[in-house]
Each structure stands twice: as C-alpha cells, then as structure tokens.
C-alpha cells in the first residue's frame, strides 16, 4: 500500500481525503444537474404533454416512496451516530449503527426494485415489447423517471458497498478513534446521496 500523503504546511486544516471527497461530490452533483436539466427542459417545454405524477403513480405509489424517503433519511441519521460513536471510541456501537445504515440502504433499494418492476410490467409495457402501445402522455415521463431514479439507485448501491467496507474496517479494528475521518468521509458521500434523493423525489414525484 502506498504511503498516505500528508497535508503540507499551508493547508485547509482538513485531511486530503476530505477535500478529495468534496471535490468529487461537486462533480457528482453536476452529473445529476445534467440529468435534472434535461428533465426540466423536456417537462416544461410548451405542449410537452407531461402527466401529473399523482395520476400516474397513484396515491399509494407516492406514499410508498415517501416512506422509502423517510427510511433513507433515517439511515443518514444512523450514519451520524456511527461517526459520533467512532469518535468516542465505542466501536461496538458504531458497528451496530453502521449495520442499521446498511440496512436502510438495502431497504431503499428493495422498495425501488419493487416499484420499478410494478411500473415497467403494469404501466409501461411498451418498454419491453415493441408491439405494446406507448402511454397516452409523453413517454419521456417514464424515460426520465427511470434515468433519474436509476442513476440515484446506482449511487445508493455504491454507498451500501462503501458502508460495508467501512463496517468491515470497524470490525477488523482498522478504523478507530484515530482515523474516524474515514467514517466522516464515507458519511459525506452517504448524506450527499440522501440530499440528491430529496431533489429527485421532489422533482419526479411531488411537483
């Protein structure tokens, strides 16, 4: 393993890794910005024929996703606990909170998978078989929905893997009080994914 590169005499007062993660998140946010800008352009152009989300998903669909959003936010809260307990040195507790965080991410992905299956099989059969009639509304409603939630879902999946690696690091004693910043950096990513979801949820489901 290459030696960790230390900060120089003139620095921003944080580890290199934290700046690296922040700059990466700027880049990632711009990727979502590209997708969201595309969404906005397609939806709010004159005569786009965009459906009301309430009518397409149904009230139950939106409520299910709202609950899913709640679970994801809770997993962000538990991530905060992981960091707090690691900094205090309660590694056993930190491990358990991390398990809760991982579970939150997996639950989110599960519900999203269920929702995708339902939507593609029942609402948008034209996606699978060329013969099926496309919906009466602008079919980019479906395209951008899958695009945005899918790209976000991939981020959640990566985040779950990231958290599993951190969990193993905690278990094997490679992460403790002294390098809790590793957890903090993982947390930055996890909270970012959460924040992006709130934007996606608002754009795609609510307004």
């Amino acid at each position: 393993m290459a030696a960790q590169v230390e900060a120089g005499a003139e620095n921003l007062g944080v580890e290199n890794g934290k700046i690296g993660m922040w700059t990466f998140l700027v880049m990632d946010a711009m990727t979502f910005a590209g997708f969201l800008a595309g969404y906005a352009r397609l939806r709010w152009s004159p005569g786009s024929g965009w459906p009301m989300p309430y009518e397409t998903f149904g009230v139950i669909g939106i409520q299910l996703t709202a609950f899913n959003t709640f679970v994801l936010i809770c997993s962000s809260v538990s991530m905060v606990h992981v960091l707090a307990e690691t900094m205090k040195g309660n590694l056993k507790r930190a491990e358990n909170w991390m398990l809760a965080t991982i579970f939150g991410g997996l639950f989110f992905l599960g519900v999203q998978g269920y929702e995708w299956t339902h939507l593609i099989m029942d609402k948008w059969p034209h996606m699978l078989s060329a013969g099926a009639a496309p919906p009466a509304y602008n079919s980019n409603f479906a395209s951008t929905f899958l695009n945005l939630t899918g790209f976000h879902g991939a981020h959640v999946a990566v985040g779950v893997m990231y958290n599993v690696i951190m969990y193993l690091g905690l278990r094997r004693g490679k992460i403790d009080q002294d390098n809790a910043s590793l957890i903090e950096i993982a947390g930055l990513y996890w909270h970012f994914v959460d924040l992006i979801w709130i934007l996606v949820f608002t754009f795609v489901y609510l307004i």
Binding site: G8, E10, I19, M27, G38, N140, S143, L146
Partner: protein, 555 residues
C-alpha cells in the same frame, strides 16, 4: 555524485529494475510518482497526437483537389470526428494533465500528488479509452461519421462504432475528473510553508482554475452521453432526443456545449499559465500584474460557463437569448486581452533571451490573438449565421487550438525538458522547428478563413472546383506542418543521448521551486520540505517590482 543521483527520478528504484529493462518498465507502469505519471501522460499524448495528425493528413489529402480522390465518402465522414476526438481528448487535455502532474507538486513544494494511486488509475483509463475509440474502425460499418459533436438524430441511428465512441468519451471524462480532484486536493492542502494562494506560480493557478472547469462541466457531458447511449440501446423506452417520442434534439446540444465550450478553456488555460512561466524567465523580469493574471483566469472560467449557446445560433433559439449569449461571449475578450497585455508588459523593458520556449511563447501571443479576434467575429449573431459550419469555423478553432494550445504545449515541453530529463535539446533544431511550425500554421489555416467567407462548408467530402487552389495551399501547408513535428520529436530523443547536461536552474533565471532542485528531480522532489520565500507581487514605487525607471521631473 553517483550515477543514480544524476538520473534523479528516472533512476531505477530496485536492484531488479536496475538489471533488467522489463522490471524497469514495469516499475514505470505501476509507478505512483507524479513525475513518472506526468511523463507517461506526455508520451501517451504525443503518440495520440501523431495518430490524430495522420487522420488530419488523410483529410487534407482528400481535399487537395475537388472530387473523390483516395477514399470513400463514408470513410471520409469518420475522419473529422475521430481527428477531433483524438486531438482534444487524447492529445491536448492529457498532455496538459501530464505537464501539470510533473510541475504542480514541485511548484507548490509537495512531495507528490494528494492521491498517488488515483493518479495512476486515472492515467491508465486513458489508453483503454483510446483503444476503444480507435477500435471503432475495426467493427462492422466502422467508426461513427457524425463528427466529434455526436448530434442526434444521426448519432442515434449510427452503427456499433458509435457505442464504442460514447463509452470512450465517458471514460475520458472519468479520467480527467479524477485528475481534477487530485490537482485541487494537492494544491489546496499540500502547499509548502509560505506558499499562500496568491504566492502560487501562475501555472499552478491555471491548473486550479482548469480543474474547477473540468469538475463542473465534464459530468454534464457524461450525463448527455449516458442519455444518448440509453436512447441507442433501448430505442423503445427512451426518447430524450427524439421529437416523435416527445423528446428534443436541441436538449443534447445544450448539454453537449455546456461541457464543450468550457472544454476549450480546459485546453487553453493551462497554456496561459505555462506562458506566464516562460515569459518572465526569458524576460528576466517578474510577471506583470500577477494578481490580475490570476483573477482574469478565474473570470475567463466563470464567463466560459455562460456562453455555450453561441455554438447554437442557427438552431432557432430566441433572438433575445442569442443576444445575451453574444454579449457574454464578446465579454470574454476582456480578461483575455488583459492577459495578452500583461504578457507584453512583462516583456517590455526586460532583458529578453529568445530561446526556443520563448519563441513559442511570443509566437503564441501573436497568433492566438488572431484566433481570439476571429472568435469575436463568430460571436456576433448575424455574422455567425452566415459563417456557421463553414471553413471559417475550422480556421478559428485551429488558430486557438494549434496556434494556441499546441504552441504552448511545445513551449512547455521545451521549457521543462531540461528539468524532466536533465538534458538540453538542440537549440538550433528547436528554433528551426519553431519557425517552420509558425510559418506553416499560417499557410495551412489562414487561407481557410477565406474559404469560409466564400462559403465552403466544413466536413464535406467534395467541394466546388473554385475552392481548389486554396485547398491545395492549405493541404501543402498541413503536410509541411505535420512533418516538421517529427524533427522536434527527433530532437527530443537525440537530447536523451547527446544533449548537454542541465543545471538545477537550467535557464538561470527560473524563480519557481522546480528550479531549486536538481535536473532531473530526485524521487521525492525535495530532500526536506522547502520554505517559499514570499515574493512581493505588487508594483509599488517603494517596494515590489519596479515598472519602468521614471525620469525624475526635477532634473
């Protein structure tokens, strides 16, 4: 001094590598040393530049005379796009990343980049991406023929080669964002004592600004490419750019140019920074208006984000919007002009020494100004409607990218070559290279302004015979321009065997930290963390740099 000391970071690290070429090369391939990665970037970039040059020569051979000459029109259609892809994504951007990798950590007094392994991974993505882009020629129906812009609907209908091209573009974007994350973390967190932000050399500044540009613009291109690929792969399900499915082809152009306009600044700002190192050294005078030089780069970067629609004046966007973009585009000439005049003011009253890097720097200032001015011409809406997609645009882009980026790349390679290898190139051959390059850039590209004004469209396989003489001149110029580059490459290779040994301060007047350490630098740059001696960057009369000796009015 032992042999390995004289070879600095080029010397093998292990005994195994000392005795066998295989292990020595393996050591380079797996090296996390920013200097070695930087050199690998430069070698890779030059290689891709040669392949991209061959493609452009094929274009010029075909256009030498009117009518079909040596190739089919479908093959010709692939050439402009693949030439541009290779030159932009695999030549100019990687070479600047490479020079930055070598120079930036040393200039700020750091032992290495902040994330050495990320650095290595970012580099090795590039050859894979290049192999993907080039392998498009090997699949059925060949490389995509839609130019480097990849506009739908053509890019949606194109064959398998387009998928390879899209994947390569996404990979290149990933690689350059990895480098940008690394540069920003390095510069913000690893500066040596007293190297505050406004003490940093301007080349380092230019890499910081460029990295922000990459960070904020490249992902938007990635998102556009992903949408394009989704639409190509699942035509029944995705209709982002398909009007029949409720999509909008202009959306792609917005997303594409939101990246690709800042991309031209990604390709020129490091050159600006580099020139700001070369000119003070060979003028033996500190840079004029240091802070303004840094701020004008920031201004160019900020403005660069709000001008993208000037590439789309003929797509039917509202006149009011076009006017706004025209105004903002012309505004960019202001910070650029500040830079040009600051370079001139740096030379003014200096003790000039016209070594090859300085010649390239001065040639760059003169010819880039032509490219900048034709940019202002193209920015005005009514003129652009006339000149859109003509050879005038080709002339403009080549004046800013060949007379701009390529000239600065050569200035940088000649300038830091003694530092990188410890050997001087042959000065006479360097000057010969400069003069032939400069003359034939103008022979090749200046006439294309005329062709464009007369209405010759770009990317066309055949043209009206009245354009024949001008095209022949342009083609002849391009052959000479391309062949003389091999003189320079030969010169560089020659220097490794027979070049004069370089001192630590190879040009005697280098002021930045890389000139304090031996040439080539040792493995970890500095034996112990350096301390920067702050430079007064002001031009006060009492302290700081004198501007001009003023005759006293009393006498």
């Amino acid at each position: 001094m032992s042999q390995s000391d004289a070879m600095g970071f080029l010397s093998p690290l292990t005994e195994k590598a000392e005795n066998s070429w295989f292990w020595y090369i393996k050591e380079w391939v797996c090296s996390t040393d920013a200097k070695r990665i930087g050199l690998m970037y430069i070698i890779f970039g030059i290689l891709m530049g040669v392949i991209g040059g061959v493609l452009s020569i094929l274009i010029r051979i075909e256009l030498f005379s009117a009518g079909a000459d040596i190739m089919s029109e479908t093959f010709y259609a692939t050439l402009p796009g693949m030439h541009a892809t290779l030159m932009i994504f695999f030549f100019v951007i990687p070479i600047f990343t490479g020079v930055g990798n070598f120079v930036v950590p040393i200039q700020i007094g750091a032992p290495d980049m902040a994330f050495p392994r990320l650095n290595l991974a970012g580099f090795w993505i590039l050859p894979a991406a290049a192999a993907m882009a080039l392998s498009a020629y090997l699949v059925p129906k060949g490389a995509p023929g839609f130019g480097w812009t990849g506009y739908p609907p053509l890019s949606v209908q194109a064959s398998l080669g387009a998928d390879l091209w899209i994947a390569a573009i996404i990979l290149v974007g990933t690689s350059s964002t990895m480098a940008a994350v690394n540069f920003l973390s390095t510069v913000f967190n690893m500066r040596c004592k007293n190297m505050t932000l406004f003490q940093m050399p301007l080349f380092t500044w230019s890499l910081v600004v460029t990295s922000f540009l990459i960070l904020a613009s490249t992902p938007v291109l990635t998102s556009a490419m992903m949408m394009l690929e989704l639409q190509r792969t699942f035509p029944a399900a995705f209709h982002f750019f398909d009007p029949q499915g409720g999509g909008d082809p202009i959306l792609y152009q917005h997303l594409f140019w939101f990246y690709s306009h800042p991309a031209v600044y990604i390709m020129i700002l490091p050159g600006f920074g580099l020139i700001s190192e070369v000119i003070p050294t060979f003028s033996r005078k500190p840079i004029f208006g240091y802070a303004v030089m840094a701020w004008s780069m920031i201004a160019i970067a900020v403005l660069g984000f709000v001008v993208w629609a000037h590439h789309m004046f003929t797509t039917g966007i509202a006149l009011r919007v076009r006017m706004a973009f025209m105004l903002l585009t012309m505004l960019i000439a202001v910070p650029t002009g500040i830079k040009i005049f600051s370079w001139l003011a740096t030379m003014w009253g200096g003790s000039l020494s016209f070594k090859t890097p300085m010649l390239f720097a001065v040639g760059f200032i003169a010819m880039f100004t032509i490219g900048g001015l034709s940019g202002v011409v193209l920015a005005s809406v009514p003129v652009d409607i006339q000149l859109h997609d003509t050879y005038y645009v080709v002339a403009h882009i080549h004046y800013v990218l060949v007379a701009g980026s390529v000239m600065t790349i050569w200035a940088g390679i000649y300038y830091w070559w003694p530092k990188m290898t410890g050997r001087f190139y042959h000065e006479g051959l360097g000057k010969f290279h400069f003069w032939v390059t400069t003359i034939f850039i103008n022979v090749t590209f200046f006439i294309q302004h005329y062709l464009g004004m007369q209405g010759m469209p770009r990317r066309y396989f055949d043209y009206d015979p009245q354009f024949e003489w001008a095209n022949a001149i342009s083609s002849l110029g391009s052959f000479a321009l391309f062949s003389v580059q091999f003189v320079a490459l030969g010169n560089l290779v020659w220097s490794l065997y027979a070049g004069r040994q370089a001192e630590a301060n190879a040009w005697e007047d280098g002021e930045t930290l890389e000139w304090d350490i031996s040439s080539p630098p040792p493995h970890h740059n500095f034996p112990e963390p350096p301390v920067w001696e702050p430079v007064d960057r002001s031009h006060d009369e009492e302290e700081g740099h004198e501007l001009q000796p003023q005759p006293s009015p009393a006498e």
